[in-house]
């Protein structure tokens, strides 16, 4: 990854003729660099300042500086506003590059903001939705949460004295936020890295049939002779609004053990992959490291079995559809602590809060809203999803 605090520069407005173009500079030495190019007194742009003047003979510009901790990225930053011709902005960029700045990669400004704690992971995700052209609606979830919190507190502390009748308002706000959280769950799920699911188990356990069932079409040769599926088929499908990669594998374990096929599968397994282990008889030994994976044990072809599934095994039948819903739920469940997982939790909490308010317990609703707040403000880095969201940003954001 890029060095933090390294001086980066980018054009923040579209490269086209417009009234003004904005060039952003962030990192150590941003102010000094601009001071030099504009021939200002050293220190002129230290802190939150504004300077107007000529920049290296290129253009008459406005420079606005922010100190560390107060800027968008959290670093020392200078915004340069020049006349909006692409040529001018280009030359300013070059001049800054010559002075030691590096051209930023997409999302780098926001990434720095995130790393410096100026934005939470959730902010980044919602921001990215906004820039993708998503509706404005989601972008201010935490702002609205704040509003909701103060509305409820006002209602609790002052409604008697001052007869504020905000009860309906609070309920409406809460329902609206619930809806938003639910929409956001779907969007964020899409932004998150695909979960990979391996269908595994002894030969002829019905893996390909289930695979096809999940695909919704016959794409894999299905035969009842054990060992038909030799090289795993891989497909990306959208299930319950979430893209997942599903890998059908050759059988492993059972009578006709195909050690080569198993090796291939094991070689491609990564920690975090989900495994649906299928066995109609619920007897096979599971040959993967359970702690590295999320595992669902499935008693397949459940409709054809005489005995009911053993404890810990979920009865599933691709023919009758029994258990399919649970399998999909397992496959698409958000990873623990991932943004969508947290958003789902938030949506659940909103439901509880709405209910509490309906039974005239605003104090409880307020407590639940606080929990939502803590969930939303959690600063931990949710790796992949955020990285992915950052890629969406144009350079300069």
């Amino acid at each position: 990854m890029e060095k933090q605090n390294e001086l980066i520069v980018a054009l923040a407005t579209p490269e086209a003729v417009s009234a003004i173009s904005l060039v952003r500079l962030s990192g150590r030495g941003a102010s000094k660099t601009v001071e030099k190019l504009m021939r200002l007194k050293p220190g002129r742009l230290t802190g939150r300042k504004r300077a107007v003047g000529d920049l290296a003979g290129i253009d008459y510009i406005v420079a606005i500086s922010w100190p560390r901790g107060k800027s968008y990225t959290g670093e020392e930053m200078v915004d340069l506003m020049c006349h909006g011709s692409p040529g001018t902005a280009r030359r300013i960029l070059e001049e800054l590059e010559n002075s030691g700045a590096r051209v930023a990669v997409p999302g780098e400004f926001t990434r720095r903001a995130w790393l410096n704690g100026r934005l939470t992971a959730l902010d980044v995700l919602t921001l990215s939705e906004k820039y993708k052209g998503g509706s404005e609606a989601e972008s201010d979830l935490s702002e609205e949460l704040n509003e909701l919190k103060s509305e409820i507190e006002g209602l609790i502390e002052f409604s008697e004295d001052h007869e504020i009748s905000g009860e309906e308002q609070v309920k409406v706000l809460m329902r609206r936020l619930l809806k938003k959280a639910e929409i956001l769950v779907l969007k964020v799920k899409r932004a998150e890295i695909l979960p990979r699911v391996f269908l595994m188990g002894p030969v002829n356990a019905g893996k390909s049939t289930l695979f096809n069932k999940l695909m919704g079409e016959e794409t894999v040769v299905v035969s009842s002779t054990p060992g038909t599926t030799r090289d795993g088929a891989v497909r990306t499908v959208s299930l319950s609004g979430r893209n997942v990669e599903i890998c059908d594998t050759a059988g492993c374990g059972g009578e006709s053990l195909d050690s080569k096929a198993l090796e291939i599968v094991m070689g491609s397994l990564k920690s975090g992959d989900r495994i649906v282990w299928m066995d109609p008889l619920c007897v096979s030994e599971i040959c993967v490291q359970a702690e590295d994976h999320e595992l669902l044990k499935v008693c397949s072809k459940a409709d054809q079995q005489e005995k009911s599934a053993k404890a810990g095994w979920m009865p599933v039948s691709s023919d009758t559809g029994e258990g399919i819903e649970e399998v999909i739920k397992f496959i698409t469940a958000p990873e623990k602590e991932s943004p969508s997982w947290r958003l789902e939790r938030m949506a659940d909490l909103f439901k509880e809060a709405v209910k509490a308010s309906e039974y005239q317990d605003m104090a409880l609703a307020a407590e639940i809203v606080s929990e939502i707040f803590r969930e939303a403000e959690k600063p931990e880095r949710c790796g992949d999803a955020v990285e992915r969201a950052l890629e969406r940003f144009c350079v300069g954001k």
Partner: protein
Amino acid sequence: MKKKYQVLVIGGGHAGVEAAAAAAAVGCRTVLITPSIEKISLMSCNPAMGGIAKGTLVREIDGIGGMAAESADETALQFRMLNMKKGPAVWGPRVQSDVEEYCRTQTRKLYKAGVQIIEGLVVKLTGPSSRIEGVLLSDGRVIEADAFVLAAGTFLKGMLHRGRNTWPGGRRGDISAISLEKDLRERMFHVKRFKTGTSPRVIRKSIDSSLLEEQVSHDVDFRFSWSSKGGVQNKEICWLTRTTGETEKIVKESLFHSPLYSGRIKGKGPRYCPSFEDKVTKFPERTGHPIHLEPMGRSSRIMYLNGLSTSMPQEIQDKIVRSLPGFRNAEICAYGYSVEYTCFETGEFDETLKLRATENLYVSGQILGTSGYEEAAATGLLAGANAARRLLGMKKTVPERMSSYMGVMVDDLVTKGTDEPYRLFSSRSENRLNLRQDNADRRVFPLACRMGTLSGEKKEEYWKRNKIHKKLREDILKKRIRGKSLEEICRRPEVSPENVGEMIGFDTKEISEREILTTVVLDIKYAGYVKRAEGRYEIRKRYGEVSLSSIKDYEAVQTITIEAREALNKRRPETLSGAESIPAVRQADLDALVLHLMKESVSRET
């Protein structure tokens, strides 16, 4: 030489009386000095006790043996439960009181507690500040003692304001404690100026009550004190009226008369108990502000206008009042005014409410920067008990933030401070679902036992209630209904304590038994939230033990915000709790610091 008095309390307001009674209960020979016995525990402002969070505080006071709750019950004219529709955790019991009766009742209780009362005005403390020896009264007497509790309320260099007039006074009809204030300043205590205001009072028969909305007691059995017999009865009617657009217009046109807006009052006023001038300025588009008409006593000919606090000139107050429906011929018998007074800066007193620079001078009530009778009474109790305990060589007792509003208040005052008169709010607590009025006795009982202020008789009563509580809780936890545990059923939002009572056949008319049912069910309902809140607090509390000395340069801690890094490098707090008190350091930074320290200690070991 053995002095006649061990603890001497200055000021017989709501704080002073509780302080004196508590010191006596702990076992000290106690004297209270106040200018007038008739005005002991006088309600300077509205004739009522309780409210949201404040009502809960009154019950906590009862739980540790204070007098306010019982006196409020005995002199109650009417009872209302505020916030009935906002959830039982924030119900706010409030009673109207007979003001004169309240003074007499409190005085009687003081004598009964064994407190000596001397009429007099303290003009000076004697002895060095580090160890006060006595007080000098205006008539020249010097009274000595071993420990002191100062509870001078709004009297320290009190200045009253109305319109363009300003005159010295502690409150209407009382003199200002000017020399005592001067003495405190000369002793180099850090002080500040706050202000507060009150409403005009009107003659009852000049009001046409047929145009007003009647208000009677809520139909709920209630009393503040667990020792009071039977619920509060309705003895008086209150009325509700609303300001008309006319009222606001008069105020807006006359704002330049108000000492608040012409800049003559410099002290900081309460944001949450605003003067009517404030309300009109802050919400210029609103009209129809509710004004409650409350009798000052049973069959009193004087009514208090709650909600109309103002310090406008008299003729404008007349106009304002007469613009209210039913008030056309209203006669004001005491005009509203505001008072500006001296109180202590944050940091001057510790968590036992002792002034840090002294060994034996405690402060309580309004001079801590609080506002309200309830807040005053609670801090009085704590200061009085701690003064006595220290004197007798006993351990200090400090209420816990997580288990009482008292704890919240003391912690806020000592660690956060306040730059306006501090009033309790339910939202000041992180553990609001637990700090309820129904379980106040249970929450503070351990504190009461440590403090030694609860009488044997009251303790007996408590143990009796506790027995019922235990049994009831067991019954509920055992019970299953149609395959579901009753515990689970309790958690459903639609299930009320009464429902649960019906399910297990717990049928009683007794107030305290019904309260126990409520407590048991609500405790079960909110258990998860309370446990989490307490968990978070426990972690925060341990911050004080976490040393930051191993971090040489915060720039190296990349996981915290730049703002935090800079602030920490500049201030270099010793422990995490020091870091916590820096505004630029957020909760997330604290978490990240903990992680950093953990990683650091692992890498040092390997």
